[in-house]
Symmetry: none
Subunit: 204 residues, 4 copies
Amino acid sequence: MPPETTPNRSRRSESSRRAILDATYGLVLEKGYAKLTIEAIAARAGVGKQTIYRWWPSKGAVMFDSFLDVADDRSGEDVALPDTGDIAADLKAVLRATVDEYNDAAYSARLRALNAELLTDPKLSAELFERMLAPGLAAYLTRLEAARSAGEIAADADLETAIEVLLSPIHYRWQLGTGPLTHAFTDSIVDLVLTGLRPPRPRD
Amino acid sequence: MPPETTPNRSRRSESSRRAILDATYGLVLEKGYAKLTIEAIAARAGVGKQTIYRWWPSKGAVMFDSFLDVADDRSGEDVALPDTGDIAADLKAVLRATVDEYNDAAYSARLRALNAELLTDPKLSAELFERMLAPGLAAYLTRLEAARSAGEIAADADLETAIEVLLSPIHYRWQLGTGPLTHAFTDSIVDLVLTGLRPPRPRD
Amino acid sequence: MPPETTPNRSRRSESSRRAILDATYGLVLEKGYAKLTIEAIAARAGVGKQTIYRWWPSKGAVMFDSFLDVADDRSGEDVALPDTGDIAADLKAVLRATVDEYNDAAYSARLRALNAELLTDPKLSAELFERMLAPGLAAYLTRLEAARSAGEIAADADLETAIEVLLSPIHYRWQLGTGPLTHAFTDSIVDLVLTGLRPPRPRD
Amino acid sequence: MPPETTPNRSRRSESSRRAILDATYGLVLEKGYAKLTIEAIAARAGVGKQTIYRWWPSKGAVMFDSFLDVADDRSGEDVALPDTGDIAADLKAVLRATVDEYNDAAYSARLRALNAELLTDPKLSAELFERMLAPGLAAYLTRLEAARSAGEIAADADLETAIEVLLSPIHYRWQLGTGPLTHAFTDSIVDLVLTGLRPPRPRD
DNA sequence: AGCTAACCGAGACGGTACGTCTAGTCTTGAG
DNA sequence: CTCAAGACTAGACGTACCGTCTCGGTTAGCT
């Protein structure tokens, strides 16, 4: 993500880059994003401040990169959703795991930093989307398409919207605190999304 | 929201309070929340810095108050959802209006500030919920209960979850930029929430 | 000497002023002027950097003030030259004392700082002259006038020039290292200035 | 004069040496010594910084060398003082020329740089003396000895001291600003040094 | 109808961090 | 090897704000 002004990329010190990214990652967890400073990053990374300013335009960009860097490390991993043949059960299992992550203090701290930066600089969202969100969303899409093929889901269903409708309530509650982040909550989202609010058609 | 330590509330200058809140509100729109400073607020409000520190614990609290203050002004207003007898049409109309607000630059700027502060200081979410969110959510609940009584919605539907499922995708897209905030998007949310993904039960 | 922009003089903290001046004075002696930094002054004085920048335009100005401040403290003291009735003896005694000062390491360090700053910013010389040099030169003038009245010195002698001719060789040797700063050197200056180079007029 | 550590002198690039010295000389005149930086020298000379650090120990040494280099160029020139047979007239003419130089802005700027460096690093004075001062002082000595032989000056006069007494007041006024640098001033120095302050011996 | 304690505007203070600049060292690639 | 180029660690620069602390002036609410 470096802004590439004049500095010569080929001469860049990889060890400094790593040290900066690691220091940033650690400091956000320890002190929180609001108390993250460039000076602290430089000190912990054993790096001159100028080396940070040479390659990143802002503190937020460093933090952003440090998290995306971790995400990239995982990008080779298998992100496929389970497929037991029961779409409801599979979605519930995945969303339960997701909500457990949100309830983890360290994960939550990183997420807060990332979202705060996103709110400060919305231009970053495209990059965030591509490097962090897209792989996960694609996995959901694959699973839902399989369910559609299996006849569990209506042929004309809008799957892209469905994915966001499944995931966003978790993010919403986490950020706005409108209610507890429980397995019951995610289960009820899955039920709702799969069956809708409409009343059962009366037997005739 | 003032923390009330020792200062005597009855002696508080209402004109200073108003000037501070107004200055804050204006500065967030003009410069953005990240560049908001206590000194700038004090200067624009024609107020000593100490007067701010006396009544608020942080910059975020002032900003928060300045927005809630606007919300409180509206609290007498009618927040009821329309009821034409067609729950799908009514929800679509309301969500279209909501999405239009999110697409407004000024509203979006304020929302960014509010959410950024919330991520920095999650303790504020309870207050935010009570003063800004609760009235709106109550209105949704009222309308959905009416629909349930009318038989448009299943008797055992989880309406609280349904409301969050309706609203959160808008917030999600707005914040993460996963897609365009259009009327088509909100319409498809409503359809999804009302009918679900399940295929129509075959006529027998 | 503060440049007086906007800050309100009457609110100035005298204790901070003193601490800054004292810290500067001490640091020049310990580290030398070239290694004097505003940060070190602020740290030793227990003062914020801004408090220095508020009242002085540059590091040199602070140093300058810190030395003139010492000079001012002495300004009430008696700076008169001795008067034994023998102008040669009196001048030799005073110049021997002067040269001893120049040979003192601490005095020499301060003098180096002062002169270095003067070379960097010649505008300071007027102030230096008034506050540090003028009193001393006046004392010489008084003594030389007494000698003139006593007939030891020609009635039409240019005393102002004579004073500079007496003092400047010491400064010159000290700064350029053209030779050793000894009592023999200053004695010979006095002899030269009093009798000149001309051969004695032959007795006829 | 390079400090001679390890680098192999024979491989040294003469063109780089010249470019560095010339760039330094020019930058001192244009920006002043205080704003002279190694980076600016390297940039103007079209030279890597390391090439400067390899051959000189400090910025001051480069500047010093750049000026002595000019002085060395002149060392073949005739520096003898005029000899019209009238020592007073000859000295006045030379000192007038000297003071004119001091009043020249460019010469004064160089002199400031040189003296500032000398105050910062007194170890340089020996070198300065040998390469810049000594030839001039020797010329004075030659002329004064001629005057002594001619009977214009007392046989036992201390000529070395006399030379410093003649020259130092100019340097003193230039640096401390104790008075104007005029021909009248230098003339009166010559008169004073030649005749002294003593009153004319009464005719008997 | 004062008195007096508090709040008020103002802004200097001790600090922290900023983003920039320069020093002096180290690395790379060309000659 | 030396050299130009320039990235590196280090740390001071001067600025912007932080949150605290006086300072007079003013205002509210008790005597």
